[in-house]
């Protein structure tokens, strides 16, 4: 599925270097050690806060309030997780995030494929213009849609529904999806379509029998890349959703800020750990596909 030109993990250094080569390599070795140290430091900065969050979620409240923040917990406790589940409706939040992510992804994939098919394969006179229109959605910030959508939703009774989150999330992700699918469709040879046409297949059959089945890899890319942003969306959910029943994870986490801004930190971090787990697992399992998707998303978009 993923044919990344990954660098070989082990250098094929089977042949022992001749003395002359070795002398020239000595200086780069110092450089290499230095870069190794630097990289390690940077990775620690990137990862340690997350590990710290997890460790904190296992500390007792007293330990957290009084101890040195870098110290390891004096004892491990699951109490915070119990409190986290008491305070919020984490199961519900995760379910809601799941519904929104799935709904938006279905739209993005299906509509993205259709638009790309129309632009790239069918072709029409104004296709350049349509491409340009989609470019706007990549540049323009999502905040522009908040006020208008809030007004429109209140007129058609869509405030406080799943759709109110799904529509803008899908709409703003659609351009990237269209670009990814069209740049993939460019590589499907024209002869494939011409042969099918000669056999009497119309545009719908060609879409269903040729284009759709070939798109599977791109679908994976599009879904993975968009899911990160949709799963973590805060701004649309925060603007359009009010009732507890529909709150997604980012909103649910806010419930842990109590009155007067007082926060039960250890329970909050426990809740954070619970809610980042689903996406984190997907990421760790599929990280190669996801990394490749992010790379191609940028270089083609």
């Amino acid at each position: 599925m993923i044919t990344q030109a990954a660098p070989p993990a082990q250098p094929p250094a089977v042949v022992p270097p001749t003395p002359a080569v070795r002398r020239r390599k000595r200086r780069p070795d110092l450089f290499r050690t230095l870069s190794r140290v630097l990289i390690t430091l940077i990775v620690i900065v990137q990862v340690y806060p997350l590990a710290w969050q997890f460790l904190t979620s296992l500390r007792s409240e007293h330990d957290f309030a009084t101890g040195d923040p870098f110290a390891l917990p004096s004892s491990l406790t699951w109490e915070n997780y119990a409190r986290a589940f008491e305070t919020g409706d984490l199961g519900r939040n995760i379910l809601n995030s799941f519904v929104v992510t799935m709904g938006a992804n279905v739209l993005i994939v299906l509509l993205g494929m259709m638009a790309a098919y129309a632009i790239q394969v069918l072709g029409f006179r104004l296709s350049k213009l349509v491409r340009g229109l989609f470019l706007i959605g990549i540049i323009v910030p999502v905040q522009i849609a908040l006020v208008p959508l809030f007004i429109d939703y209140s007129q058609v009774n869509l405030l406080d529904t799943y759709q109110s989150m799904i529509i803008p999330l899908a709409g703003f992700s659609l351009p990237m999806s269209v670009y990814l699918f069209s740049s993939f469709y460019e590589y499907i040879p024209k002869e494939t379509y011409e042969a099918a046409s000669l056999d009497g297949a119309g545009p719908y059959r060609i879409f269903g029998l040729i284009t759709l089945p070939l798109s599977v890899n791109t679908v994976v890319t599009v879904v993975l890349v968009n899911s990160i942003f949709i799963w973590n969306d805060f701004i649309f959910a925060n603007t359009f959703v009010l009732s507890e029943d529909l709150k997604t994870i980012p909103l649910g986490l806010q419930n842990y800020i109590g009155a007067m801004g007082k926060v039960d930190w250890t329970a909050t971090f426990a809740a954070v750990c619970v809610t980042i787990t689903p996406l984190l697992l997907v990421f760790l399992v599929l990280n190669k596909a996801m990394i490749q998707g992010l790379e191609s998303g940028a270089t083609k978009g």
């Binding site: 990775v43 957290f64 923040p69 993205g112 259709m114 029409f124 349509v130 703003f172 986490l253 971090f269």
Partner: protein
């Protein structure tokens, strides 16, 4: 292109996506433009005010200018952390022999985590009482005099809310730049090394020009993302204390949903859109021109 296509078939495939995109993106942009000429609180009658909102924004609103300046500083910090960090790490990574995949994964980890979780985390990192990670670290390395409540100090709060955003996405840009660096032909580099090129010459004369197109894309991505930054400042400080970490986006949000001044909020939105388009144009102009020179 396809011989058997008909006008209807094009419409069947094109209309549904355009409908969603129009409803969610294009129409709201036009609506904002329209609303920006009105005064409206969402309940009473809409009142046409002409350019009054724009005049108020440019001439009579100090908070707007403060927020604009803050947004530029926020953007600058994000760009330095994201693009500078990304380029540095990507270059270092190419010199490693093993563990590249692992480092890529670890480095990208923060990008997977929601902004709400990140805001919580950084509130604790910056905290003074009880002592948070940053202040403790400063204490240990003998810079105890720098310890402070980073989020309530008006001099540091803007940098403090920008850093998490920069931190979050460095991994993403690093990946993209790293992929581009791998594509630089090895023969070119080897030839330059044989000619006695230093590391810096190698980088500035061969590698960087080669990845310039990707660099332009990443700069545009990072800039447009930086200009739409909202979640972390909104969650951590809500623009405070005072207006010291107010960005255009948080100011627009508060104008719309706290003061329910939809007309003026739309005016600010229109400004944000124009700002983004101008930024993209400027980047293309500057970086493309340099490439031609």
């Amino acid at each position: 292109m396809l011989p058997n296509r008909s006008r209807t078939s094009v419409l069947v495939f094109l209309l549904p996506p355009l409908l969603l995109y129009g409803a969610a993106v294009l129409f709201p942009i036009l609506q904002s433009l329209f609303l920006s000429f009105f005064s409206w609180n969402g309940i009473s009658e809409m009142e046409f005010v002409g350019l009054a909102n724009y005049i108020r924004m440019f001439v009579g609103d100090d908070i707007f200018w403060r927020a604009f300046l803050n947004a530029l500083i926020y953007l600058a910090i994000c760009l330095v952390l994201q693009l500078g960090g990304a380029l540095a790490v990507a270059s270092l990574l190419t010199s490693l022999r093993r563990g590249r995949e692992l480092i890529k994964t670890l480095y990208l980890l923060p990008a997977v985590i929601s902004t709400v979780a990140i805001a919580f985390l950084f509130v604790r990192i910056y905290s003074l009482e009880p002592v948070g990670l940053l202040n403790q670290l400063l204490h240990w390395i003998g810079l105890g005099s720098l310890e402070r409540p980073w989020l309530s100090d008006v001099n540091t709060v803007l940098a403090a809310v920008s850093a998490p955003e920069g931190w979050r996405f460095t991994g993403l840009y690093m990946l993209i730049i790293y992929a581009a660096l791998l594509a630089v032909p090895k023969e070119l580099e080897e030839a330059a090394v044989l000619d006695g090129a230093s590391r810096w010459t190698l980088f500035s004369k061969i590698r960087f020009p080669y990845i310039r197109p990707v660099w332009i894309t990443t700069t545009i991505m990072a800039t447009t993302y930086g200009l739409r930054g909202f979640d972390i400042p909104y969650l951590m400080t809500n623009g405070g204390p005072g207006q010291s970490s107010e960005l255009l986006t948080t100011y627009m949000y508060k104008t719309a949903f706290t003061s329910t001044d939809f007309g003026y909020a739309s005016t600010i939105s229109v400004f944000i859109v124009i700002e983004c388009l101008a930024a993209v144009g400027l980047i293309l102009f500057l970086l493309k021109r340099k490439a031609d020179a």
